[in-house]
Symmetry: none
Subunit: 420 residues, 2 copies
């Protein structure tokens, strides 16, 4: 089954909000083996809505439309849809009763524009909206099913989960989708491609390989489609195994995850603890870790010793080390990592020190010079990187590489596996 998603509303076209609804809908459809062929955001103007409905007919089996169902004047989706489907709006008594109760429960006066929320396309199937006043609607034209939903995320999600997905899944059970994800680190996209070129060219047409790179990692995604669930699952898994064997030391995980989530789970499973000592990453590594629920089981906390004074005060970095080698040096970053591990009594400590830019460089240490150290249970490793002149990217690259180095040392000292 092929789907299109249409989002209606000027706020997306002027960049005021990011369209997260479409990504959420796409994930749900994908999980239910419905492929999304395009996502379109348009203005809430009649012509734009009419053309979008018209262009999608017979291109997709189902078109999911969100937005423009509110009570105010700028919401004209229903009126335009009535024209396109050559029908009219009529008030639905059951919806009206729901809207009335909605206002009564909140002790608010109901206006005529609120009553109009109960006007639906004549001939549609009403998708009852428990969480708001605008009902969803399903209507067919030609071979295409159109589904209208409100743009408010939690109302849309509720309608999708309770009504839309069950309807769509009933209609389509002919093809099955199998996916395998592999997270790879320490190797660039093009080297990776060369290393697996022969395996990639062996892939049959019904299994696709996608490269999804970030600054320090690449996610490889295999997507296989077939009519027999067991067969396509097995075949896709087999290719994933071949890739994993070939890439050996670079493979971090054999499933869809983030490096920080993966490390946190491994730390917890092995009952290990971590602290961070961040100069150039300025707290962003700590923020990445603490964004994951449950991290307090392994992360005791950390420091952001931005000034030299705090490097000494918080981590016992020696004054001679700073004056002799400078803050951005192998010696300093090692003392930071070891000082943090020792003072906060953890199994591992990560330290970063660098010149993030855009200024602050010298001929010997140009902007983009970064040192990362990991103090582990048996040894401390340190590496120097030379990045370019973009502060944001340098910080992001450093925190990703710090996690990559932490993973490397953890593998060495604890033989952690790729699965969980």
């Amino acid at each position: 089954m092929k789907a299109q998603i249409i989002t209606i509303g000027d706020e997306i076209l002027i960049g005021q909000i990011i369209d997260t609804n479409s990504a959420w809908i796409a994930t749900q459809l994908q999980n239910n083996n419905i492929s999304v062929i395009q996502i379109l955001s348009i203005s809430d103007k009649e012509e734009a809505i009419f053309n979008a409905l018209s262009n999608s007919q017979d291109q997709a089996d189902v078109v999911l439309i969100t937005g423009g169902l509110g009570p105010t004047k700028d919401d004209i989706t229903k009126q335009t849809a009535a024209k396109y489907f050559d029908t009219f709006l009529q008030r639905d008594e059951e919806v009206l009763q729901h809207v009335t109760q909605f206002f009564e429960a909140r002790g608010k006066e109901m206006l005529e524009i609120n009553r109009q929320q109960a006007d639906v396309l004549k001939g549609c199937t009403i998708l009852f909206n428990q969480y708001g006043t605008a009902p969803g609607m399903l209507i067919k034209k030609g071979a295409t099913t159109y589904i209208f939903m409100p743009g408010v995320p939690f109302e849309m999600k509720h309608l999708m989960n309770t009504q839309v997905l069950p309807i769509l899944c009933k209609q389509d059970n002919t093809t099955y989708l199998a996916q395998e994800n592999i997270i790879v680190g320490g190797i660039g996209e093009s080297y990776l491609a060369e290393k697996i070129a022969d395996l990639e060219s062996e892939l049959p047409a019904h299994i696709k390989l996608a490269y999804l790179p970030t600054l320090a990692f690449v996610r490889l995604r295999l997507s296989g489609t077939g009519s027999h669930k067991d067969d396509i699952t097995k075949e896709t898994k087999e290719f994933a195994s071949k890739l994993i064997d070939r890439l050996a030391d670079h493979v971090i995980a054999n499933h869809d995850t983030s490096i920080e989530k993966f490390l946190i789970q491994k730390f917890i499973r092995h009952q290990l603890t971590l602290t961070t000592a961040e100069s150039c990453t300025g707290g962003s590594l700590a923020a990445m870790i603490t964004a994951v629920p449950g991290c307090s089981a392994m992360y005791v906390g950390g420091t952001v010793p931005y000034s030299n004074k705090l490097k000494q005060q918080l981590l016992d970095v020696k004054e001679e080390t700073l004056s002799q080698y400078g803050a951005v040096s192998e010696q300093t970053v090692i003392e930071m990592a070891q000082g943090a591990k020792h003072k906060f009594d953890t199994n591992y400590a990560v330290a970063t020190s660098g010149i993030a830019g855009p200024t602050g460089g010298t001929p010997e240490k140009p902007v983009g010079t970064v040192w990362i150290a990991i103090a582990g249970e048996k040894e401390t490793i340190a590496r120097k990187f030379q990045f370019q002149n973009d502060r944001t990217i340098n910080i992001e690259r450093t925190r990703q590489l710090a996690l990559f180095m932490l993973w490397q040392l953890l593998v060495k000292e604890h033989q952690i596996g790729i699965d969980l």
Copy 2:
């Protein structure tokens, strides 16, 4: 001028990533008085790319396309574009030299697929990409200008800022755009709207007011368009002054900035220093500050005392305070702020402690309970907030409100102004 944005890549259609590029591009175009008529995300299949290019011709003056320019096999934008524009790909020597240097500077071996990055559409204008190996390209067909850019956000942003926007702005100089921005804090969007309703209804049709809310601030943007630069600039400024007078105490800045940049500049100008002590925000407040170049002139560094042990060890929070009132309490957060200010000898200190969720709440302190304290030169202020159950939003709201409280105390103690 009318623009369309096309994003190429399956990762958006399966919901694996959210299309933030389009929102960013849309904002930039909007700021330069170019209206976006639609945003389209499509698969990296030849048919989808060809159809999208074809459908946009003569619908828009300019089409901005991102993605699918990488070196691997799944990136077929260039080949498809060559077909659509009835041309071929040819290797550009200058780009090849840049790609070669790019690899040499990193001490990496260059492969044939990397050399292919230098293949561009014959007849295009090359948009040189300093930050990566895939160049941008500009090519015309009919009345429409097509601009291809890599999908990697920082490369795309760099090309947009340095090349694409200057080219587009040169093409369209019949109308002039004047913009005024006002940053407002401590008041919700709807109360704000009510407070300025009469001024808003006085606005002439050629001056538009937009509300751009974040979790703790609202940016008001006035956009005036006219054929005379001086007239429209003056008229827009006059309305901005009226809004500033009306909103008085809520106005933080009279220009487009971020709260952290604004505070950093004020701290530097007044020769003040800052430290942070973050439990529930987990380093994200420090990361927000250290993302701004030059912050080291006022930010000495900070701590992320996630565990109770580190709250005591790093900030001298008393054991009795923690056992009697708990980590999430007025007493603890005040001791954290005062301890940090005292130990690291700064003028101001910000402390956060809360239950970010999704678990860890109790009947007395449900998930979303957050305490923020600011220790200033004369006094310490502390406030409790009760948020909901979303970890990401709770962390983001807390760091924004912490900066808002810091601004409030700074205004009180130093009478700082709104301009810079």
